[in-house]
Amino acid sequence: MMQELGYLKESASQTAGPYVHIGCMPSYVGLDGVYPENLGRTMLGEGVKGQQITIEGQVVDGTGTPLKDAMVEIWQADAAGLYNSPSERRGQADPAFSGWGRQATDADSGLFTFETIKPGAVPWTDGRMQAPHISFWIVARGINLGLNTRLYFEDEAEANDADPLLARIEHRNRVKTLIAKKTDAGYRFDIHLQGPDETVFFDL
C-alpha cells in the first residue's frame, strides 16, 4: 500500500438558484433592514484614481433570451495595475478602489451595470504584461458552476494583440467575444452562454 496524498476534495458547486439575491444583494428584492447596503454595490470611494467608466451588458442564454435572475461579480486591478488584495505583493493599491463589484442582471431589462475605473495592466506569470482586463464571474439559476470570463477593451487593440491569454485562444474568431465595445456611456459587454456567439469561458 502506498502512502495517501491526503488532499481534501473541493466542495462541489451547486447552482445559485433564482433567489441568490436574498443572500448576496437583499435590498435588490426589498429585503431591507438586515444589512446597511448590498455588498459590492459601490466600488468607488472618494478621490478614486483613474478614468471612471460604466460597463453595461446582458447575459444571454442559448435561445437569445437575456437572463433576468443572474448575479455578476467582477474583480480587477486599480488604475495603476495593482490589486486591492492581501495577496498583492507589488505595492499598495488605491485604497479608494475596492476592485470588486457585484450586480444583478435587472429583473425587467436583464441589464447589469458597473460603475468602475479602467484598470491598469497587470503582469502575466512570465512577467510579460497582460492587456487591461476585468475578471467576470457569473452565477444564476441553471448555471451549475460559476462561469469565469474576462472583459477586454476595444480601444486597447495593441495591448490586446500582445495579451498572453488572448493569444492562447485557438479559434481566433472567438477572441472578439471578450472585447467590450466602446459606447457613449463607457463600454458594452454582452455575455452569451451558448450558441454561435458563445463567449469564451475559462477553466482557471
Binding site: 473541493e10 435561445t63 486591492n84 488584495s85 505583493r89 441553471g142 451549475n144 452562454l193
Partner: protein, 246 residues
C-alpha cells in the same frame, strides 16, 4: 487576524469531473444556460490569485443570527432552531481564515422572501432568510437559524427541493469563489432532486450533507448541524521560478 504572510501560489486545478457539468438536462434550466464549447485553461496569473477580502467591521451584531436578524422586537422566527457550524478548509486541509460566508434559505415552510417566489406556504413575518459571517483564525464559522422546509419547483411535474441552505464562499483568491448548497442528514428528497443529481459522484453529494451534531447542541434550546466546506488549495512555491513580485 494572523500576521502569517498569505500564500500566493497558484490554485490546484478544479476537478471538473467532480463538480456538476454545465449541461445536466434533468435540471431543465441548465439546457439553455450551459456553454457548449470547451473552457480555455490557463495557469493562474495575479488576476486569479488575488481576490477581495472583508474585515470583521463589515458584520452587524445579528448578521449570523437568522432567528433574530429580521424579527420584530421581542419576537423570533418560527421553526426548528438550529446552529450550523463547521470549518472552511482548503484542499491541503489548511484553515481558510478571515473569509466571508454568506447564506440564504427559505423559511420553515419552504417559502423564500423573494418577489419571484409564489409558493402558497406563507411568509414568516419574523424571518428574512439571509445571513453572513467571517471565519476565525482556525477557519471556524457558526450561525443560528431555523431549519428550512422543502419546497416544490417547476422542473418536473412533482419535483421538490430537499431542505437546503445556500452558501456563497470567498477565499483568498477570486479563482476560489464558490457557491454551493448544504443539505441535511437523512432527508429522503436528496437522492430524488435533479439539482443534487447534477453532481456525478455520490461521495461529493455526501460531502454537501450536514450531519446532526449532538455535541454542539444547546440542551433545551437549539440543535446543531456540522458542515465543513473545502475550497481549492494552493501550490507551495518552493523551487518555483517566478519573476519578482509575482
Amino acid at each position: 487576524m494572523s500576521n502569517a504572510v498569505r500564500e500566493t501560489g497558484a490554485f490546484f486545478p478544479r476537478d471538473r469531473e467532480w463538480h456538476p457539468k454545465a449541461l445536466t438536462p434533468g435540471y431543465k434550466t441548465s439546457v439553455a444556460r450551459s456553454p457548449q464549447k470547451a473552457p480555455i485553461s490557463f495557469g493562474n496569473s495575479l488576476s486569479e490569485i488575488t481576490g477581495p477580502t472583508f474585515g470583521h467591521g463589515l458584520l452587524g451584531p445579528l448578521d449570523d443570527d437568522l432567528i433574530l436578524n429580521f424579527a420584530r422586537e421581542g419576537e423570533s422566527a418560527i421553526g426548528e432552531r438550529i446552529i450550523v457550524h463547521g470549518r472552511l478548509l482548503d484542499e491541503r486541509a489548511k484553515p481558510v481564515r478571515g473569509a466571508l460566508l454568506e447564506f440564504w434559505q427559505a423559511n420553515a415552510g419552504g417559502r423564500y422572501r423573494h418577489k419571484k417566489d409564489a409558493y402558497l406556504a406563507p411568509l414568516d413575518p419574523n424571518f428574512g432568510g439571509c445571513g453572513r459571517t467571517i471565519t476565525d483564525e482556525d477557519g471556524y464559522y457558526a450561525f443560528r437559524t431555523i431549519k428550512p422546509g422543502p419546497y416544490p419547483w417547476p422542473n418536473g411535474v412533482n419535483d421538490w427541493r430537499p431542505s437546503h441552505i445556500h452558501f456563497s464562499v470567498f477565499g483568498d483568491g477570486f479563482a476560489q469563489r464558490l457557491i454551493t448548497q448544504m443539505y441535511f442528514e437523512g432527508d429522503p428528497h436528496i437522492p430524488l432532486c435533479p439539482i443534487v443529481n447534477t453532481i456525478p459522484d455520490k461521495t461529493a453529494i455526501d460531502l454537501l450533507t450536514a450531519r446532526l451534531d449532538m455535541n454542539a447542541t444547546i440542551p433545551m434550546d437549539t440543535r446543531a448541524y456540522k458542515f465543513d466546506i473545502v475550497l481549492r488549495g494552493r501550490r507551495q512555491t518552493h523551487f518555483e521560478n517566478r519573476p519578482e513580485g509575482m
